[in-house]
C-alpha cells in the first residue's frame, strides 16, 4: 500500500511540474486534454466488468464502461477540434 502512496506523491509533483509553463491561449485545450486523460477510468471499468459476479455488478460496470468511453472519445476529439483552430496562427 505504501508503494501506491509513493507513486501518488511522485505523480502529483510531476503533474504540477509538467504544466507549470503553459501559455494562456492553451488553458482550455489543456483542460480538455487532461479531461480526456482521466477517462482512463475506462480501464478500471473494463476490469471490474470483466470480473463481475451477479447482475448488479454487471449493470454498474457496463454503465461505467459506457460513460468512461464517452469521456475518453469525446475528450480527445473535442481537444483535437480546438487545436485545429490554432493551425492558422501558430506562434
Amino acid at each position: 500500500m505504501i508503494d501506491l502512496l509513493t507513486i501518488f506523491v511522485l505523480a502529483a509533483f510531476v503533474g504540477f511540474e509538467v504544466v507549470s509553463k503553459v501559455s494562456t491561449i492553451l488553458h482550455t485545450p489543456l483542460m480538455s486534454g487532461a479531461n480526456a486523460i482521466h477517462g482512463v477510468i475506462l480501464v478500471g471499468a473494463i476490469l471490474i466488468t470483466g470480473a463481475a459476479e451477479g447482475a448488479v455488478q454487471l449493470v454498474l460496470g457496463l454503465l461505467a464502461v459506457f460513460l468512461a468511453t464517452v469521456n475518453v472519445v469525446g475528450g480527445f476529439v473535442v481537444t483535437d477540434r480546438m487545436l485545429e483552430m490554432f493551425k492558422g496562427h501558430k506562434r
Binding site: 510531476v14 482512463v40 478500471g44 470483466g50 473535442v78 483552430m85
Partner: protein, 270 residues
C-alpha cells in the same frame, strides 16, 4: 507482467501528452499521443481483464463512441466549454460507479477510505459538471444562484457527507455507501450553484481536477498503478491550471472555492 509494461508506456504517453499540450507547437501531437496511450491502455485492460462479458463490454464501448463522436464533432466552437464539462461529469460518474460496483461489504480500512473518496468526489464532480453545463448552455441562469438558506444548506450537506463517510468506514454498509453517493451529488450542486458567469469555466477546470483525484482514488480501490498515475497527473496539473486560469482572468479563486459558504442572499457583484 507485460500488462504492467503496457500500462507504464501508457502512463508515459499521458505525461508527454500534458507536456505537449503546454506548448503551441506540440499541442496537437501531444493530444494524439495521449489518445494512442489510451488505446494501448484500453486494449491491454480488455485482453488482461475481460475474462467474462467481453461482448457486452465491446457493445458498451461502441455505444459510448457512437454517442461521443458526433457530439464532439458537431458542437459549436462557442459551446465547447460546456461539452468539456459534460465529458468531465460522465468521467466522474464512471469513477463513482466503479467504486460502488467493487464494494462488497468490507475490505481493509485503506480500501474503504479509497472507496469513500472515489464515490464522494466522483458523484460530486458529476452533478457539479451537470450544473455548469446547464449554466453555460443557458438552460438555467448564468448568474450566481444563492438560495435563501444556501449557506446553512451547504454546511449541512458537508456535515451529512462527513458523517456518512465515517459511517461507511465504520460499518462497511452498502446502503450507507449509496446514501453517500446521494450526498456527493448534492455536494456537487451546492458547490457550483453560487458560481456565476465568468467563473464557470474555472469551476469546470476545478471539477476536472477533482475527477482526476477520484480516478486516482479508484486506482487504490482496484490496486491499478495506471489509474493512480493518470488520475494524479490530472488532479495535480488540473489544480495548478485552475489557479493559472483564475489568475489570467483576474478572478480570486476563493470566490469559487468557498462561494457556497460565503455567499449571502443579497449579492452585489462588480
Amino acid at each position: 507482467m507485460s500488462a504492467q509494461l503496457a500500462y507504464l508506456v501508457a502512463a508515459l504517453c499521458f505525461l508527454l501528452a500534458l507536456k505537449g499540450l503546454s506548448t503551441p507547437r506540440f499541442a496537437r501531437a501531444g493530444n494524439l499521443l495521449g489518445a494512442a496511450g489510451m488505446v494501448l491502455a484500453v486494449v491491454t485492460a480488455f485482453v488482461q481483464g475481460a475474462v467474462h462479458n467481453g461482448l457486452w463490454i465491446l457493445v458498451a464501448i461502441a455505444l459510448g463512441a457512437v454517442v461521443a463522436v458526433p457530439a464532439a464533432r458537431s458542437v459549436k466552437m462557442t459551446a465547447i466549454p460546456q461539452m468539456v464539462a459534460l465529458f468531465n461529469g460522465v468521467g466522474g460518474a464512471a469513477a463513482a460507479l466503479v467504486a460502488l460496483a467493487e464494494f462488497h461489504d468490507g475490505g481493509p480500512l485503506l480500501f474503504r477510505i479509497a472507496t469513500v473518496l472515489t464515490v464522494l468526489i466522483g458523484s460530486g464532480s458529476f452533478s457539479g459538471s451537470l450544473v455548469t453545463f446547464a449554466k453555460l448552455q443557458e438552460i438555467m441562469t448564468t448568474r450566481p444562484v444563492v438560495l435563501p438558506a444556501g449557506r446553512v444548506l451547504s454546511i449541512g450537506v458537508v456535515a451529512v457527507s462527513l458523517v456518512l463517510a465515517v459511517a461507511v468506514l465504520a460499518t462497511s454498509s452498502t446502503a450507507l455507501l449509496v446514501a453517500l453517493t446521494v450526498a456527493g451529488l448534492l455536494l456537487g450542486i451546492a458547490f457550483v450553484l453560487p458560481v456565476g458567469g465568468a467563473d464557470v469555466p474555472i469551476a469546470i477546470s476545478l471539477l476536472n481536477a477533482f475527477t482526476g483525484l477520484a480516478v486516482a482514488a479508484s486506482g487504490y480501490v482496484l490496486a491499478n498503478t495506471l489509474l493512480i498515475v493518470a488520475g494524479t497527473l490530472v488532479g495535480a496539473s488540473g489544480t495548478l491550471l485552475t489557479r493559472m486560469m483564475a489568475q489570467a482572468m483576474g478572478r480570486p479563486l476563493t470566490n469559487i472555492l468557498f462561494g457556497a459558504f460565503t455567499a449571502t442572499a443579497v449579492q452585489v457583484r462588480g
